[in-house]
């Protein structure tokens, strides 16, 4: 997922012509005065922390300022704040508009129907999950003809707007559809979409670009998202690596097997700290990279669960032993391995010769690694 911060989502909106409040992003209070002037933002203005989490309004991460000095002070107060785990590094200064009504619109994917899904609700400004189902209209869009006029009429009816406001929503919906398709978005959400006079304006922007489409969107290569620094490195190395809040590292091949391993671990009192899916790789260099990355996460113990299908267990074992050798002395961790499948006996022999605990029963292996990490939580 490439989750874009509000200001960056709005940059895309601006490119496509979505109506927006005047705004400018700043990274220090000293930029505020110039930003207000260059973007022509009138006072009073809004000062918004650029974090990915929702609920900023209630969390003090959105403030109002009537003077330049107040805007500077608000920026100062917000920058560096930690909001739901994210540190605020950017602040968006924006025109404060006279809002008549707050609406909700979004485009996302319906996996079951394999169709883009447009949603609209007259109850904007709150998290859509809290809105009653009956107040949300859902319209599936076929990618071939795209978003159709009659579908836009259904969405507009849900918003309860008419006349020029409805026409403004109609154009907006075309733009959202275009953004969803052309930017390879997973989600394009405007919440709230504000009625201001006889038109609508996107007060917020939530845009998630699909990770797998990043080869078509080099412009988002620098987006850090809400990944941890280690997750960021893993992403660059194309290793599926997720940091969790426990202390046991789990390395397995295949997402399903890795998840299943975590489940068993949790059942026996272990706390997974890292999810590392080696995938279908049998490249010893990649295995070594994965181990070094795991070492950086400083796990108390690591459980390796490999099923050798096409790959042979002895090849995997040889790679593992080499990888373990490369982990720096101060980052060594106890390892419990379970390798099964093709040439299993040879593989196990190699591991045991290198002093690695190697068991074939999943329950037993998990109990061993939980013990190595200091016992069940």
């Amino acid at each position: 997922m490439v989750k874009l911060a509000e200001w960056r989502g709005k940059e895309i909106f601006r490119k496509y012509g979505v109506p927006l409040p005047k705004g400018h992003v700043v990274r220090s209070p000293s930029e505020v005065a110039a930003a207000l002037q260059s973007a022509g933002i009138p006072l009073p203005c809004v000062v918004k922390a650029q974090v990915l989490a929702g609920g900023r309004g209630k969390g003090g991460a959105v403030r109002f300022a009537s003077t330049v000095a107040e805007a500077e002070a608000a920026t100062q107060a917000i920058l560096g704040l930690e909001f739901k785990g994210e540190v605020v590094r950017e602040v968006l200064l924006e025109e404060k508009l006279p809002i008549a009504k707050e609406l909700y619109v979004s485009l996302t994917l319906d996996r079951s129907r394999r169709l883009p899904l447009a949603m609209a609700s007259a109850q904007g400004g709150v998290e859509v999950e809290t809105v009653d189902e009956s107040a949300i209209v859902r319209v599936h869009v076929d990618p071939f003809p795209g978003l159709l006029g009659y579908q836009k009429r259904q969405l507009i009816a849900a918003l309860g707007v008419t006349g020029p406001v409805a026409r403004s929503v109609d154009s907006l919906l075309d733009l959202l559809w275009k953004i969803f398709e052309e930017e390879d978005a997973e989600l394009v959400e405007i919440n709230p979409l504000a009625v201001v006079g006889d038109r609508v304006v996107a007060l917020d922007a939530k845009v998630i670009i699909e990770d797998d489409a990043s080869f078509r969107h080099p412009e988002f290569a620098d987006v850090k998202d809400d990944r941890t620094p280690l997750e960021e490195i893993a992403r660059e190395k194309e290793i599926a690596f997720v940091q969790l809040d426990g202390n046991i590292g789990v390395i397995a091949n295949g997402a399903g097997l890795t998840m299943a391993t975590l489940d068993v671990l949790a059942e026996f009192g272990g706390k997974p700290g890292v999810f590392l899916d080696l995938g279908g790789t049998d490249d010893p260099k990649k295995v070594t990279e994965a181990f070094l990355l795991m070492a950086q996460a400083k796990p108390k113990a690591v459980f390796l669960n490999i099923f050798g299908g096409v790959t042979r267990c002895d090849t995997v074992a040889t790679g593992l032993v080499e990888a373990m050798r490369q982990v720096p002395p101060d980052a060594k961790f106890p390892l419990v391995a379970r390798i099964r499948g093709n040439n299993e006996a040879e593989g196990v022999a190699i591991l045991r010769a290198a002093g690695v605990t190697s068991l074939s029963d999943l329950k037993e292996s998990v109990q061993a690694v939980v013990a190595a990490a200091g016992g069940p939580a």
């Binding site: 079951s112 797998d212 295949g254 097997l257 099923f307 096409v310």
Partner: protein, 294 residues
Amino acid sequence: MSVLVDAETKVLVQGITGHQGTVHTRNMRAFGAQVVAGATPGKGGQSVEGVPVFNSVEEAVRNTGANATCIFVPAPFAKDAFLESVDAGIRLAVIVTEHIPFHDMLTMYHYGRSKGARIIGPNCPGIAAPGKSKVGIIPNVVFRPGRVGVVSRSGTLTYEIVNGIKERGLGQSTCLGLGGDPVVGTSFVDALPLFEKDPDTDLVVLVGEIGGTAEEDAAEFIGHHFTKPVVAYVAGRSAPPGKRMGHAGAIIARGKGTAESKLTALQAVGAHVAKFPYEIPALVEQYLPKPSGR
């Protein structure tokens, strides 16, 4: 009988000249599959593992009668490769390639459907029917012919489960690996009717994951239309919300797609739910209908 493929299936490999394409062409042939052609633009005239390579799918089909394709083409070109196979008249595609953008998959799925072409995958291990054919990358060694159908969103986990069934002395009719992407060509709901009407399948093992509602949809289908016993497992019970667990599709988003919701739904329609994968073989043995009078 088996599901989707049989001994007559003539397999084309798109991307045969790449490393994966070559390795799995060898494995498919070793499994007994008829791999009749490869296709790689600009490499026509070569041969890989004794299989002739053509520049285009149309040429391959014209010369060999290929009627299924196994696609290993890199993600940026996979859409084109699949659409080429559809235009050349192929109606079954196993797409092994991972990281295909879902917007591309939407095009592939809907265009394929309008022409009657089925996709297994993408990012999937494919189809294996022991003793008949294989289109995909599931390891040969885990199989033994038998009467257990397996349908799964996982890869390696499936291999381990299939292997466990074999080690229990049982065998498989067909194993379908559907892939772990958000948009798959064939979902549980699409696959289950194939197993329902397959006379060689007596029980189905369903291996799910967190994310989406494919398992809930499957449960609804099972409740209304599926008569054979189902053993089900769902990976990711301990996964935290909002994190993609390896597969692009494996994510609990906005409270949707939890393992609990899936397990509850499956249990409610009478599926025999395994808490851990190692429990599956025993459940299969317990619920597999005994051959009457054989």
